[in-house]
Amino acid sequence: MLGAAKRLPIYWKVTSAIVATTVCVLMGSYAGFVMLETQSFRQELLADRQGFAEVTAQNVSAALVFDDKPSIDRNLESLKGVSDIQAAYVVDTDGNVRGKYISTALPLDVERTPVALPFDRTLGASLRGAFAVQTPIKADGKVIGALQVRVSSERLKNRIARYQRLAVVVLLFALAISWFLARSVAGLISVPIARLNEAMTHVRGERDYNRRVDLDAEDELGQLADSFNAMLTEVAQRDATLEETVRERTEQLFLSTEKAKAASRAKSEFLANMSHEIRTPMNGMLGMTELLLQTELTSRQRDLANVLMSSGASLITIINDILDFSKIEAGKFKLVDAPFNLREAIDDVVSLVAGTTEEKKLELVVRYQPDLPEAFVADGGRIRQVITNLVGNAVKFTDEGSVRIDVTGQIRQDKARVHIAVTDTGIGISQDKLSRIFEKFEQADGSSARRYEGTGLGLSISRSIVELAGGTLNAKSVEGEGSSFFFELRMPVAKMDMEINMPQSAMEGLRVLIIDSKDQTRDVLDELITSWGATVDTAVDGERAIKAMTRDPRPDIVIADFDLPDMDGDTLCARMREDDLLTDKPLVIMASPSQIGEQLRDNGRTAFVSKPYRIEPLVRAVGEAMVSAGVEQAQNLADAGRLDEDGNVTPQSPNGTDEGAQPEKPTGDGVRILIAEDNRVNQLVVTNMIAGLGFEIEIAENGRIAVEKFIENKPDLIIMDVSMPEMDGLEATKAIRAYEREHEFGRVPIIAATAHAMEEDRKRCRTAGMDDYIAKPIRQDAILAKIRKWISDDVAA
């Protein structure tokens, strides 16, 4: 109702208000008049009839005193001429009716008796369709009775009915008058408003600020129109100024944008060029150093070459960080989801820092929740990059104690919520720096005399990666006690079989003794081996372990740390082999690479696992121990496809290859490889890396020559640099592919080897027709892996 009233035009609002007001006032006045008139008429009627009653009462007083009923009746009969009086009664003080007069006008349904009223005064009472008027009858000043007359209210009713009929006429008249008034007044208000509204709508719709409203009024509406016109004038003037300003600003903005774009392009080009220009000599430096390390060197020469190699690797890491940071800043950093093995990624990180932890004598512990799947769908490379950064930082900033990696999570409907935490007992971070630690160029040790190197980009990049993956990287730390960096990701569980862990319950019924003095490592191993189904006993030193081994129930397999408090791994092994009861007991020793002795490698009952242990070598070693011990549970491994025909344990790996073994070098007998590379040093690097494997190597100094040699010699594989004079690698590849199509020549694998390390570069290479990509600086194992892959694929094809 209120909403409808709000939507009503002003014209109708004013009209309705005036009509309603006028009608209400008129009808109210008329009602008041009628009420007063009716009341007055009633009072007059009653006063008049009361006069008759009083006269009659006086006349009958003597008759009443002397009980002269005929006289009473005679007097009452005189009321017959009064039309309104329907009945009259003379009542004595005892209430006895001493005389009465009943008119023929009295309705039959009315009782022929007076109503009870006090005698001592004249008063009236309303009855149904009548009034009762009673006046006392006095004699000598004393009340001796009363005369009550019943006066019909018919006349009053008739008068009210007449007034009601008249009310309809008055109402119609009021409506007509008010309608006329309302139309006139509403027109005075609404017409100017309508014109103003129409003008405003026109101005708003057409943006026509030259429109004006001409109102012939000097009241508020006239002032409103004047103000509106003035406002339009101001708006028009301001628009004119604003348009000019906007045009100027737009031009400035355009120029600024162009400059910014140009700067951005220049920056990207600079980064690409810088990356390329640095990688090219780095390729030569690292490649040559790697080759140098494969030659006979003195100890000092090898140390120097190793420093050269590690410095180069650090420089590459810095360059990669800068490139990543640049991409993040430009908003071009994207994640590529694919199935990957998280456990293997963590083991890879462990391998990377193993040397450093050994040097610093740190305990590196990996606790991977046993029931958590290993394979997920995410950007495994980037997640590994984050973990590498966190673990690298932890190792870098920890001088003693431990670095621990905890991977836990829950599975819900094929999706995992994986929580990864890296905790160390290092220098820690003060609270004021903790809040800034993820900002770019920030470091925990930001002093000028800092002990720790680094660009300060790693954590910033890691946080960006985690956020892009839908998580949040956080940290908590106590200065001087250590830090913990952790993040949580939601990742789909990969459907494919990528598990490298021991099959569940494979060791059901076996008893394993774990000997390790380090609580964390021992507990993690305990949990891991228990999850494989074995019953685990633990010991903290060698003597206690040997005693435990000679008591029933004896362990089926022993897993021991090399660095026990009371003896080393060699001594433990010797003590076991000397004991008849333990001589055949399989022993798995976890030792640093430098501690693994050659004389024990050939001992079939003793296996060595590098520590910090990786899951895959540990599974293999324990599996081999099971086979060696001849336990029936070895069949579980065979059932799970973990044993080959020769009874060797072959843990599954994502690539279907044995990652624990040294990569097999491809045999290149008769395989012709064309290397398109303009840089002389890089020619030497690549050539030397693949030399001696039987390949027939040919060099092309630029793309044009590469195309010519391809046509001429039909090589089996091409390693193509991208940036080359005369014709770059992309053009050359296109030409080769075109030639292949024209001459129905089989597709030759082309591997891009370029210092252009950006993602866009990789795409450009694939678009041009290249099959694979390897970034400079090229590592020998990487280039050999690529060659092996494409040669074998080619052979298979």
């Binding site: 006086q58 006349n59 009958v60 007083s61 003597a62 008759a63 005193v65 002397f66 009980d67 002269d68 006289s71 004595d92 005892d94 006895n96 004699a139 000598d140 000043g141 004393k142």
Partner: protein, 182 residues
């Protein structure tokens, strides 16, 4: 004009009180049973209510009703002493016949047989309302004759004599009265 000797000579106050009480009891019973059947004393008071006395008839603070000292109705009227007539307390006075006309009286009541024509004549032009239940009283110079028609009281008056009388009679009274001699 006959009446009990004892009332004329006056009886001791104790016996008189008993008589008046008994009379009052009888009257009250009668009034309760038939309210219209009033005694003559009450009827006289009622008649007085419709008569207006001239200003010359101001005899002090009371309304004086006179009876002959030998009138037997004295006791009945004594009971009416507490009544109020014309706004004044009714006082009942017993006097010798010779005193009528000499002593002020608003009303002179005569029981049947006690209306002496001499007395009536003496009172004829005086502002004294003469009342008697004696038959023919109005025809013989009395102003109001109280007749009984069954139980109902009927007033008989000589209307012709009234206009010249010092007392003024209300129209209502005249309207319900009967003409003497009819």
């Amino acid at each position: 004009m006959q009446g009990p000797r004892s009332e004329r000579s006056g009886r001791p106050d104790g016996r008189r009180v008993v008589f008046v009480t008994a009379l009052g009891f009888w009257l009250s019973l009668g009034a309760a049973a038939e309210p219209e059947r009033k005694g003559n004393a009450a009827a006289v008071a009622d008649v007085a209510a419709f008569v207006r006395w001239p200003d010359t008839a101001e005899y002090g603070l009371s309304f004086r009703l006179c009876l002959r000292d030998d009138d037997p109705a004295f006791g009945e009227f004594v009971r009416e002493r507490d009544a109020t007539v014309q706004g004044k307390p009714l006082t009942v006075h017993s006097m010798q016949p010779a005193q009528f006309g000499r002593m002020p009286c608003h009303i002179a009541y005569f029981s049947p047989g006690y209306a002496d024509p001499v007395i009536l004549k003496r009172l004829n032009n005086q502002p004294t309302l003469t009342v008697s239940p004696e038959r023919g009283f109005a025809s013989h110079g009395g102003l109001v004759e109280l007749n009984r028609d069954g139980g109902r009281l009927v007033l008989v008056m000589d209307r012709a004599a009234l206009p010249s009388h010092p007392l003024a009679f209300s129209a209502q009274l005249l309207a319900i009265s009967h003409q003497a001699g009819e």
